[in-house]
Structures are given as structure tokens and as C-alpha cells.
């Protein structure tokens, strides 16, 4: 049932007058206030409470958006940016109503691919599937980096919210791969950030190649969940596609064997990514409805995309990998390496969905609910995180669905317990489990990303007061009337 929070956002102007203004800006085909249209935007897959927006608009130009922002700021009407609604954090649920700006329908163009400096200039609605197809058809030697997410999820949102992808072990957070942004701030000012900052009215398409060395204003928009402005263009880095690919599967028979492996393989700089899952996730992926781990099965499996320029380079990488495993096994772990492509053909081709990204892992989305505690994690706490969450899963009678990664050459890690659930029957149970897991993980130093507001409320109790004060000052300075996605980070 959709709940409507009581906050009168139409104190300064009537709802009818807002509607008239929106019709004037966007045209009648691209504005709606009908419940049947608003309803899908009122909720997502997660446990976060639904809330109806008042209007949906579908923009096609920055001029429209500048006018919208000026208008909304004058009358304190909330604006919530939306691309595809696939974030697992309730981030586009309009907690205080207002206007949802759906970028996915018309502002979804790939504006430029720069072959020389390897970046893509994108509108906010571009999806991973769209970008991959465009590159494969037009620039087959270039690649982007893809998450374990459906092809219809958004590239720009993922980058702005520090998502992670299948180059994570090399490049780290996707926010690090942003070269530049075009943003509309609350006063209707259009700012270009990054090397594209030269030029009065327009930046050349080939000028979005770097975000340094000027003061890095990009940070004002990263991980703010749309609270500081509307992003209208984003340049993301691309990489050369290496011709030799040999993904590897690693199986871990000891509960915490994965932890030292992630640390070692991360710093060895030989893999593009390590996507490590509880074995229950692997079984779910091939269609076991309620997977459990049996004795003799590994606790964890890891899929590792490996790529090289030559066979010799690949063999050298594989040799380093084997040596790491041998060294760890001599110290007592029970880790084994298997060729992933060959194994998948025997085991089940569906397993390749974890490697061929982006992909729709159907079984992950087959229930009405999906949520997670997705966090950046200190890698020296991996063992404790695995053991403590394992005990919590057992206590609640839920199979462990953990997902771990090593990031940026071993500098940090990702720890992400995932839960699929039936919204109308299991939600209370899952929320209880999720909260318990969140408390343990935060105590161990994990920092959640794409964070829902119930979780940022927990974080605020632990964050140093100086940070909170600075954060609030910035938010107030960037958005004094709190119109940009209000409620996020408990603003």
C-alpha cells in the first residue's frame, strides 16, 4: 500500500498552477499527474517505504530543466531525478512528493565517443545495455565496465553513486572513472566540471578528457544522491578491450578462505575483477528455488574476468594466480582453480550470466523484493564479516547470500549481503535480518553505498560531528530550500 507522508509542498503555489507550469515547460505529452502513471515511480524493489510523486515529467533538453529548477526553487517544490529505478536503495522514491524527472525516456543519448582519449559523453538516461551495444557495433576495440545489474540499468547513476563493476579490481569505484559533468544548480546555473570547463556556452565534444587539475568540484555531486543539482551530461572513461580473455572460477572450501585470497589477488594486479559469491548464490543462479549448501560443497565461489594482450601475458598472469593459491593452500586454505568457460558448459550455461555483464540474473529478481547491505569494506575485516554474518543468517534461517569484491589493486573491498524476498509475506523478517547485518557490518567499519535513508540515520550516529556539520553546510549552500531529492541522507 502506498503511503503518503504529510508535508504540504504546495504552500507557496497551488498544485494546479504547478501543473500548468509543467505543461508549459514540457508539453502535455510529457507531464502527468494521473495516479496510474505515478504509481510505478512511488516504489522500488526494496523495503523502503513507498511514496507517491505529484507529477512525472519527461525532459528532453537542459533548457527545460533550467526552467524547472528555477521554478521549483522559487516555490520549494521537490525534484527527484530518475533514470530506470533500478538502484537497490529506495533512492528515487519521492519521500516528500513533488516532481520526478524521468531522464530514461528522452535524455538517453550517447552524445560522443572519443576514440583517442577513450571516453563516452552520455546523457543521464543511457543504459549499460545501450552503451555496450553501441561500442560493440561502432568501437569494438573499446569497452566500458559493467556491473552485476540488468542491461536496462543506468550508467550515469551507477557512476555518480560509486557503483562497482567488472573492472573493480583494477579501477575501483566507478565514480573514479568520471571525467566530467554538466550540472544544473539550484539557481538555474549550468556548470561544466572537468576539462570541459573551458568555453562560455558550449564545450567541444573532445574536451571531456580529464577532471583534474582544477579544484575538483565533481565531489559536490558524487554520492549526494541527487541532493545538490541535476546532472545533464556525464563523461565516463572507456578502456581498450584486451584480445585474450580467460575467466577463471575459484572455489573456496573453508568458510573464510576467500578473505586472504581476495587480499593477495588484489595486490597482484592480475585480474580485472573478482566477483565472489556464497555458493548458495551460484545455485540460485542456475535455478534452485531455495538453495542450501551441502557438506562437501564450497562455501564461496569467485568468478574472475582475466584479460591480456598476448597469450604469453595471460600465461604469466595464470602462473601468478596459481602461485598465490599454492602459497595460501600451504598455509591451510582449501582453494581450487577451474577454467570458468569450460566449467560453465558442463555445469550450466546460465552461470555465464555472472561473467557476461550486464545481465539479468532472473532468479535474483523473481520475487517481488530485493535489497542489500552494500558496503565498501576494510579488507582486514573480511574474515570477521564473513563469520559474523554467517552466524546471523543461520540464526534467521536464511541462506547466506554474500557478495564480495576486491577493489583497485587491493586498496579496499566490497562486502554485500543480498536478500531477495516476497514483499507481502517476508519483508518484516528480511528487514530484521538486514538491520542486524547492517549493525554488525557498520561496527566493523563498513561504509554503505547507494544508502537508503533508514541506513544513513544509523550512520549519522557514528559519523564524526565535524563531517556532519560540513555536509549539512554544503547541502544548505547548494540547496537552501531543500528541493533536490529531499530526505536522502536524512536531509
Amino acid at each position: 500500500m502506498t503511503v503518503i507522508k504529510q508535508r504540504n509542498i504546495f504552500e507557496k503555489i497551488s498544485k494546479d498552477n504547478v501543473y500548468s507550469k509543467l505543461l508549459e515547460i514540457f508539453g502535455s505529452d510529457y507531464v502527468t499527474n494521473k495516479d496510474v502513471d505515478l504509481y510505478p515511480y512511488s516504489q522500488d524493489m526494496t523495503e523502503n517505504k513507498p511514496h507517491m510523486p505529484d507529477f512525472i515529467v519527461i525532459p528532453e533538453s537542459k533548457e527545460q530543466l533550467i526552467e524547472l529548477v528555477k521554478f521549483c526553487n522559487e516555490y520549494s517544490i521537490p525534484i527527484v531525478p530518475y533514470t530506470t529505478g533500478n538502484n537497490v536503495g529506495g533512492l528515487t522514491i519521492p519521500d516528500y512528493g513533488g516532481i520526478v524527472v524521468d531522464f530514461g525516456k528522452k535524455m538517453n543519448k550517447i552524445l560522443h565517443i572519443d576514440d583517442n582519449m577513450m571516453y563516452a559523453l552520455l546523457e543521464p538516461g543511457v543504459t549499460f545495455g545501450q552503451l555496450k551495444k553501441h561500442l560493440e557495433e561502432n568501437y569494438p576495440h573499446l569497452r566500458y565496465s559493467y556491473p552485476n545489474a540488468p542491461p536496462y540499468s543506468g550508467v550515469v547513476g551507477n557512476a555518480l553513486l560509486s557503483g562497482m563493476t567488472n573492472l573493480g579490481a583494477k579501477i575501483g569505484s566507478m565514480a573514479d572513472s568520471i571525467n566530467g559533468l554538466e550540472v544544473i544548480t539550484v539557481d538555474g546555473n549550468l556548470a561544466r566540471i572537468g576539462s570541459c570547463f573551458y568555453g562560455k556556452d558550449k564545450a567541444e565534444d573532445d574536451s571531456w578528457w580529464c577532471r583534474y587539475p582544477m579544484p575538483d568540484l565533481l565531489g559536490l555531486f558524487l554520492n549526494f544522491q541527487g541532493m545538490t543539482g541535476l546532472v545533464t551530461k556525464c563523461a565516463v572513461q572507456l578502456w581498450l578491450k584486451e584480445p585474450i580473455e580467460k575467466p577463471q572460477l575459484v572455489v573456496f572450501f573453508g568458510l573464510t578462505d576467500l578473505a586472504p585470497f581476495l587480499r593477495e589477488v588484489g595486490r597482484a594486479d592480475i585480474v580485472n575483477d573478482v566477483a565472489a559469491f556464497s555458493v548458495e548464490v551460484a545455485k540460485m543462479e542456475v535455478g534452485i528455488p531455495e538453495p542450501v549448501r551441502y557438506p562437501g560443497e564450497p562455501h564461496y565461489t569467485a568468478v574472475m574476468p582475466m584479460a591480456a594482450k598476448t597469450e604469453n601475458q595471460m600465461n604469466a598472469k595464470l602462473e601468478i594466480l596459481s602461485n598465490i593459491i599454492e602459497k595460501l593452500n600451504k598455509k591451510g586454505t582449501d582453494i581450487h582453480l577451474i577454467d570458468y568457460n569450460e566449467f560453465a558448459k558442463i555445469f550450466n550455461l546460465k552461470a555465464l550470466n555472472i561473467y557476461n555483464l550486464p545481465s539479468q540474473i532472473l532468479s535474483l529478481h523473481e520475487y517481488s523484493g530485493l535489497t542489500w547491505f552494500g558496503a565498501y569494506a576494510p579488507t582486514h575485516k573480511f574474515e570477521e564479516l564473513i563469520e559474523k554474518t554467517d552466524a546471523i543468517y543461520r540464526k534467521h534461517g536464511v541462506p547466506p547470500f554474500n557478495y564480495l569484491k576486491i577493489m583497485k589493486g587491493g586498496h579496499y573491498g566490497i562486502f554485500r549481503p543480498i536478500f531477495r524476498f516476497k514483499k507481502f509475506t517476508d519483508q518484516d523478517k528480511i528487514v530484521k535480518l538486514l538491520e542486524e547485518i547492517a549493525d554488525v557490518c557498520i561496527d566493523l567499519g563498513c561504509i554503505p553505498y547507494k544508502t537508503p535513508s533508514w541506513l544513513t540515520a544509523k550512520l549519522r550516529k557514528k559519523i564524526n560531528p565535524g563531517w556532519i556539520s560540513l555536509f549539512e553546510k554544503i547541502k544548505h549552500c547548494m540547496d537552501p530550500n531543500n528541493i533536490f531529492n529531499p530526505g536522502r541522507w536524512n536531509t
Binding site: 555458493v279 542456475v286 550450466n348 550455461l349
Partner: protein
Amino acid sequence: MLNIEFPDDLISLSLYNIFSSRKDERKFIKHAKDWNKKIMLHIEPFYPVTVIFNGSNIRFERKEYPEPDMKVKLHINTMLDIANDRLNPFFAIEEGKMIIEGLGEDSEKIMRFYNIFVVSMQMAAQEPNVNYYEINKNTR
């Protein structure tokens, strides 16, 4: 027509995958139907699974049966070498990479084992079972 029970452990799932792609194939049916044998397969570093052939049915048990008709032990990477034609299965036996107990001199048993297990693996490696959305539709 053979009935293959849908299992829920990793090794049996693999066997299910490679058998199910051939379950309507005449040659496979000829070898698997009415074999009425229990074949224990231990793919290291995993666990033993007993494949039970009973009339038109094939099912899997996640354990070492007390008195199986055959015991086969090999490493997963040896299995992949055989499946991908990098290692001849007879050389694998000779080199001790695949250990088989209970094969004896029974040529029919050798023939059936070879056709059901080795050929199916090789076929799956060369032409993977693409019916992956079909295999579990009855269990959802």
C-alpha cells in the same frame, strides 16, 4: 524417453545438465535405459555422487553408496581435460588421473560408461546444453 530427476547440489546439477541435453537421443537412451547400475562418481575436490540408473529413470544421491557397481574418481580439471579433448580418457586411466574400480573385463559396462559419461561430457563441452531455461521449469 528417460526421466532425469532434477537435483540441487553442484556436481549432480552438472551431471543433470550434460545428461539432459541427450535424454531424447536414441543412442543415449539405448545405453542408459535398463542399465540398472549404481555408479559412484567422485569429482575432486568436491564430494562423491552416486548416479542410479533404474529402468527409464536416472537419479542422483549425494553420497557414496555402500556397494556401487563402479567407482570413478578424477579431479575436476582432469574431467575438463577429457571433455575438451586435451586428454584421452584411456590415457587418463593409464596415468592414474582417472581411477576406476569395478570396470572389470565387462565390455558392455565399459561401452556404456564411456558413452553415458565420457561422450556426454565431450558433447556438452563442444555443444553446450542451451536448454537451460527448460531444465527446471517443472520445479519452479
